[in-house]
């Protein structure tokens, strides 16, 4: 079976040439991974389909330079050779190689790896004095020919190579194997994949540019890894991640150290000042820095900057000097796709003589401008485009990149939404055919039925239990339902939480599962949402709708009827039918013994209805009693006040106007939330006990005390003392900090407390010591997410874990667990990342809508642009304020660019006068030349005017100006109830966008792009978002608590 041959390699290690002899074994049978295989190769997992027109074998140079083109899913039937893979690994390093590896593993992309060097007939030893490239091309060609012969000539094989000599040499050697250049290949075989061709030409041009460069140096060279690594170990250099300050991207960057132990020792982060010292590092890169001598250290700027290039930032505006360093080498680039905006054509022409090489500005302010070589600059002016970085030579002021995809014209709603998604690394293509094929069918002609086999395995609750769900009005994806009943005898109470059984429909490893994993969560943007699962599951078969049979995962407790202590708990799969699909308001009125309309009961006869109603009321009352008990238990442990959390998290996470709705606080909200928290907690206990090394839990680490600084300082200004030593103390002192005249004070304090919190994270129990499992916000020792599998992937993982925990109990030998610790930790990290991205995207989309709302209003005349604001922090040249009406936070400058300060006249209105500012911890004084002084204090109410600062390249900003130092008096008749305005804002903007696109259509110039995007838009009704938002906030309050303070620190 084996035949040995020996090859000689000349290899240099540590500079010296060493002759190394390696064996090389070749064999007859190497899997060809093709569905057409006649020889019965042992093809496993991934096979190339037989229905493509040809197979394509790219040569080494093509794989190395144009891998991105080959990543297009439209290109099918790609055979990567081992020769090419190894060449990539050697010449392009691990990153590129891993990318190729993950491409090969990706089940949706039809490409395989052929180990040609281990195949007897395709292996060709390198001849003496043969250039490497020639040898590699020969190997690849041999592989292509072998493929053709192996498949008995059924499939033509195309080899693509950049080398014209190879084309000339090989193209006529054998029939059925064609050798052409990639450009020709794309044009003739994939003429309809325009994007691939564009990407190809943009990379080719970028490559050409790079070759023709040769200018004086702009930056010092980076040190090689051989010097950096010992240097880091010896302490000469410090390793860390670059975090660029968004507001001063040109000057300030900080180095976040790898491990927190070192950072406490160093006091704080390390500053890198200016682009020269940053030495081509880009936000997010892992770098090595060298500290500068102490005399060169400088402080961070504390003033608010309006525009960049503010030269007057004197020394008095700086904090004390902190360690300052310069970047000496880059250990790991973390370049991603960036969205950039092309400049207008006139600007391009005036800017440089070479109009094919242009400078574009990224949307993210932290990223420097990028050089792009393209011939389409004129067509793309003012468009947003995704680019990738290629290199940043020391000779160039800016990095080089190439275009990947055009998003659309800047300023259009769809473009901006796509920009936000791309910048957060969110990919939400429509569900593919193959994924939808996996879904069960539920249509009118072919309704879905309960499988009789499942009826046997599952515990049937349809007859025995009164199950009902409580959700916001109009909700269609019902994750959870509740049941409560007194057990016969009256000594025990049975409480049940029933969660949609998503994992029954979505098998682990199926295409839908892979897609759900990669999305990790349902994305909620201001006007739409992108579902994690296809609609047939999320809105229908998994949703626990009223009056239909559904599969569920249930947690059922038996409680002592009096003391409510848990006697026993049961987990398992059930079959249930929800009797009532209540909404919160109805449930609350039932609870309060008020008249309420229950739609399910209306067709019944009077007495029947009364009896049923009584039953339901009884259940609700029991539920409330249990929830109150649970709540008190957790309160004693130090849980942070949920009601407060709810408000401040809303404020913080999305800054949305819905956030400050003076919502009628219904007890039923809390009841449902409490049951869910309880279920999550018990499931966490169960899976942690069954799988001590590999359970997915959620922890909320205690916040770092120094983050509470702004909170305690602000509270002191109002005379409150905030005790932050433990979560209980914090909760209590926040409860006490209530100003009777101004309810906003307490809310703002809670916002600040939330900002101090760390993020709650998913983790695998094997990778974290047990004392760190604690959930700070909820005051529980173990916690996980179990109750919303329709919109969170973590819950699906937990469902699977719980199922294997239950199965392993019954079985004699241990059932295999779904994932090991390493894999689970990987999943947890992925979900955490995606959750963060989802929050950022949501926040940014809300901000986008705020800007669009105010954009076409004249700030001077429109009364909607004037609003009341509360000061919550003081800076050197201005204030940070919060506008309750719109839920907007922003900066107000007290000094303008002409160095004038705000002067307050007698009636409270403000104007600019020459003068100076004086800053104190709790107030700021404007002193004009005339001698008049005015003081702004913390928690003062002022009036501001909102206008939009339009920016071509970045997201727009709201700009606030002081109008008066008093609160806005006599709200105009047009002032709406604040609760509505959020929805209306979104609606108005959407309407505006639709009108705009209609107009464009009339002119016949609607872009192809926006049509496509409209298909992606999964929810047409903008206000559905609000409903979903509410589910999110209400069903799992803890989540908003945990995820709220995810604002970037810089």
């Amino acid at each position: 079976m084996l035949k040995t041959e020996k090859v000689l390699h000349l290899k240099s290690s540590r500079g010296r040439k060493v002759r190394v002899v390696r064996e090389h074994y070749v064999r007859e049978r190497v899997p060809c991974c093709s569905a057409l295989c006649q020889a019965g190769c042992a093809n496993e997992d991934k096979v190339l389909p037989g229905d493509v027109t040809h197979y394509v074998v790219p040569d080494v140079a093509v794989v190395r330079d144009f891998l991105e083109v080959l990543e297009f899913r439209e290109l099918r039937g790609i055979v990567f050779t081992q020769t090419a893979c190894q060449a990539i690994q050697h010449s392009r390093g691990r990153r590129q190689y891993n990318r190729l590896r993950s491409l090969l593993k990706e089940p949706l992309h039809e490409c395989v790896l052929f180990c040609n060097e281990f195949q007897q007939h395709t292996y060709c030893p390198r001849e003496r004095d043969e250039p490497q490239e020639k040898w590699q091309t020969r190997c690849v060609y041999r592989a292509a020919v072998w493929y053709h012969e192996h498949l008995a000539g059924l499939m033509p094989v195309v080899m693509i190579t950049e080398d014209p000599d190879a084309v000339a040499e090989y193209s006529s050697l054998s029939t059925g194997v064609y050798v052409i250049s990639p450009q020709e290949y794309l044009q003739s075989f994939w003429p309809d994949v325009q994007a691939a061709q564009e990407l190809y030409s943009s990379i080719a041009q970028a490559l050409q540019e790079r070759e023709s460069e040769g200018q004086p140096r702009e930056y010092p060279e980076h040190l090689p890894a051989e010097i950096l690594e010992p240097g880091i170990k010896a302490g000469r250099y410090i390793q860390g991640t670059v975090r660029v300050n968004k507001h001063r991207a040109q000057q300030e960057a900080f180095i976040q150290l790898e491990d927190s132990t070192k950072s406490t020792e160093q006091g704080a982060d390390i500053l890198v000042w200016g682009m020269k010292h940053r030495n081509r590092a880009i936000h997010g890169d892992v770098v090595a820095v060298e500290l500068l001598p102490c005399v060169d250290w400088r402080g961070r700027v504390t003033a608010l900057t309006e525009t960049e290039g503010d030269e007057r930032t004197g020394e008095e505006l700086q904090s004390p000097a902190i360690p300052t360093a310069r970047v000496v080498g880059i250990l790991q680039r973390t370049w991603r796709d960036y969205v950039v905006t092309f400049p207008p054509w006139e600007e391009v022409q005036s800017q440089s003589r070479n109009s094919q090489r242009i400078l574009v500005t990224p949307w993210d302010r932290r990223i420097p401008k990028i050089h792009i070589s393209t011939q389409r600059a004129e067509a793309l002016q003012d468009h947003r485009v995704i680019v990738r970085l290629d290199s940043w030579e020391s000779t160039s002021l800016y990095p080089n990149g190439h275009c990947v995809r055009v998003l659309g014209k800047a300023g259009e709603l769809e473009t901006e939404i796509q920009t936000i998604l791309t910048e957060n690394g969110i990919q939400v293509p429509p569900f593919s055919e193959a994924q939808l094929r996996e879904m069960p069918v539920n249509s009118k002609e072919n309704p879905w039925r309960v499988d009789p086999g499942q009826e046997v395995v599952r515990r049937d609750l349809r007859a025995s239990h009164l199950v009902f769900s409580i959700d916001p009005q109009g909700c269609e994806d019902v994750d959870d339902a509740l049941s409560v009943r007194m057990l016969p005898g009256g000594a025990r109470l049975e409480l049940g939480v029933h969660i949609a059984d998503v994992t029954h429909f979505v098998r682990a490893g199926s295409l839908t599962d892979l897609e759900a994993r990669s999305r990790a969560t349902t994305y909620y943007l201001a006007d739409r949402r992108y579902d994690m699962l296809p609609a047939v599951l999320s809105a229908d078969l998994c949703s626990l709708l009223g009056g239909v049979d559904r599969y569920a995962m249930s947690v059922i407790w038996e409680l002592d009827a009096c003391s409510l202590a848990v006697r026993s708990v049961w987990f398992g799969r059930t079959l249930m039918r929800s009797s009532y699909q209540l909404c919160y308001e109805v449930a609350q009125s039932l609870l309060n013994e008020e008249p309420a309309e229950v739609p399910e009961l209306s067709p019944l006869a009077e007495e029947d209805r009364r009896e049923r109603l009584g039953e339901l009321k009884q259940a609700l009352a029991e539920l409330t009693r249990v929830a109150r008990h649970l709540r008190t238990q957790r309160d004693q442990g130090g849980a942070l006040e949920l009601e407060g959390l709810e408000v401040r998290a809303q404020l913080d996470a999305d800054k949305n106007i819905t956030a400050l709705v003076p919502r009628v606080p219904l007890e039923i909200h809390e009841t449902v939330a409490e049951c869910m928290i309880y279920a999550n907690h018990w499931v966490a206990r169960k899976i942690q006990e069954s799988f001590p090394q590999q359970a997915l839990l959620r922890r909320h680490p205690p916040p770092r005390q120094e983050h509470f600084g702004p909170l305690t300082d602000s509270a002191k200004a109002r005379g409150f003392h905030i005790d932050t030593r433990s979560n209980k103390a914090l909760a209590d002192s926040l409860d006490r900090a209530v100003d009777l005249h101004d309810p906003l004070v307490n809310r703002l304090l809670r916002v600040m407390a939330t900002q101090a919190m760390s993020n709650a994270l998913y983790f695998s129990t094997g990778s974290c010591p047990q004392e760190q499992y604690y959930h700070y916000g909820l005051a529980l020792d173990r916690y996980t997410h179990f109750t919303s599998p329709i919109r969170r992937y973590a819950d699906m993982v937990v469902h699977r874990l719980l199922m294997s925990a239950i199965e392993s109990e019954g079985a004699a030998e241990p059932v295999e667990t779904p994932a090991n610790n390493k894999g689970l930790e990987e999943t947890a990290r992925h979900i955490n990342g995606k959750n963060r991205a989802a929050q950022h995207a949501q926040k940014q989309s809300t901000e986008l809508f705020q800007c669009l709302y105010f954009k076409d209003k004249d700030p001077l005349t429109d009364p909607r642009c004037v609003a009341e604001a509360v000061v919550y922090a003081i800076r050197a040249n201005g204030l940070l304020v919060f506008i309750p009406r719109y839920g907007v936070k922003g900066a107000v400058y007290l000094r303008n660019r002409e160095n004038q300060v705000v002067d307050v006249t007698g009636d409270g209105s403000c104007q600019w006068r020459p003068g100076s500012l004086q800053r104190f911890p709790d107030r700021i004084c404007c002193v004009t030349v005339g001698g008049a002084t005015h003081t702004f204090r913390l928690f003062d109410h002022i009036t501001v005017r909102i206008s939009v600062q339009v920016s071509r390249c970045h997201a727009g900003n709201l700009h606030l100006d002081v109008v008066s130092n008093r609160a806005l008096e006599a709200p105009g008749p047009d002032r709406r109830p604040t609760g509505k305005s959020g929805t209306e804002l979104v609606q108005e903007v959407v309407r505006w966008a639709e009108e705009a696109s209609q107009q464009a259509e009339e002119h016949g110039t609607v872009s192809r792009f926006s049509k496509e995007e409209r298909e992606y838009q999964q929810s047409k009704k903008p206000n559905l978002y609000c409903l979903l938002q509410e589910i999110r906030e209400l069903a799992l309050l803890d989540e908003s608590n945990c995820q709220g303070p995810s604002l970037p620190s810089s």
Partner: protein
């Protein structure tokens, strides 16, 4: 080129073998006539020469002699040209003393020493070319040499190395795999009875994986045993043809 990929996603090792495949083994017995027994073995690129003298009376100080069995004296050395860089290798350095000791222990377990009281058996092994698995090549060569010398043994002693890469046990490691920093286990087995003559392992390994690794190494030793058996039979056939003439 930090860290070679020792096991590819397709399940191939650096040199094209699957995890459970051995390198090519070629061996000859009776390569020298001066010694009582001798053998030469190639396991891939690792080449070893073994010669056996004895049993003979105890040389040197008589006090070493044991009254109930033979003394086994092993000496291991590496040729100066055995590695990529020429290097003088003095006798008695730590590495070779350790290896000598291991060989001695292995063969004390296998040779029926009690048949030759108050005598000595010398086993000298030299690595001519080193490419990983030196110990196993030495043991296998010495086994053949001992058989060539006609000294009775309980069974063949077969040795093989095994390592653990990406949750897979790989056997018969080459030099590149050995120097990769992972676990390396050397195991000497008497295949017929399944007794382990020697196990040696450096670097850490999770306890859960030990059984899998041992099993892989023992399977490899068994198949090596078959190869050695074939070599011995072949040799005997040749020799008997010669003597018949």
């Amino acid at each position: 080129m930090a860290g070679l990929e020792l096991l590819s996603d397709q399940g191939y090792r650096l040199d094209g073998r699957k995890p459970s495949e051995l390198r090519k083994v070629q061996a000859r017995m009776g390569v020298f006539t001066q010694a009582d027994g001798s053998a030469y073995i190639e396991q891939g690129n690792t080449k070893a020469l073994a010669v056996v003298y004895g049993p003979h009376e105890v040389r040197g100080s008589r006090s070493k002699a044991l009254h109930d069995r033979a003394v086994i004296n092993c000496q291991y050395s590496m040729a100066t040209f055995s590695t990529a860089e020429r290097k003088r290798r003095p006798h008695g350095d730590r590495k070779s003393s350790e290896m000598s000791l291991h060989l001695k222990q292995t063969f004390e377990a296998a040779v029926l020493t009690s048949l030759y009281p108050r005598s000595q058996i010398d086993i000298f092994v030299k690595i001519l070319q080193s490419d990983g698995g030196n110990y196993s090549a030495c043991v296998n060569a010495a086994t053949l040499a001992v058989i060539d010398a006609g000294i009775p043994m309980r069974d063949y002693v077969c040795a093989c190395s095994a390592g653990f890469v990406e949750n897979t046990a790989v056997v018969d490691l080459c030099h590149a795999e050995e120097s990769g920093g992972g676990t390396v286990m050397s195991l000497a087995l008497l295949p017929r009875g399944g007794q382990v003559a020697l196990v040696q392992m450096d670097a850490r390994l999770h306890q859960d994986h030990l059984d899998a690794l041992m099993e892989a190494a023992m399977t490899a030793c068994r198949s090596l045993g078959q190869v050695l058996d074939g070599v011995v039979r072949q040799h005997l056939q040749e020799v008997s043809v010669l003597t018949a003439e």
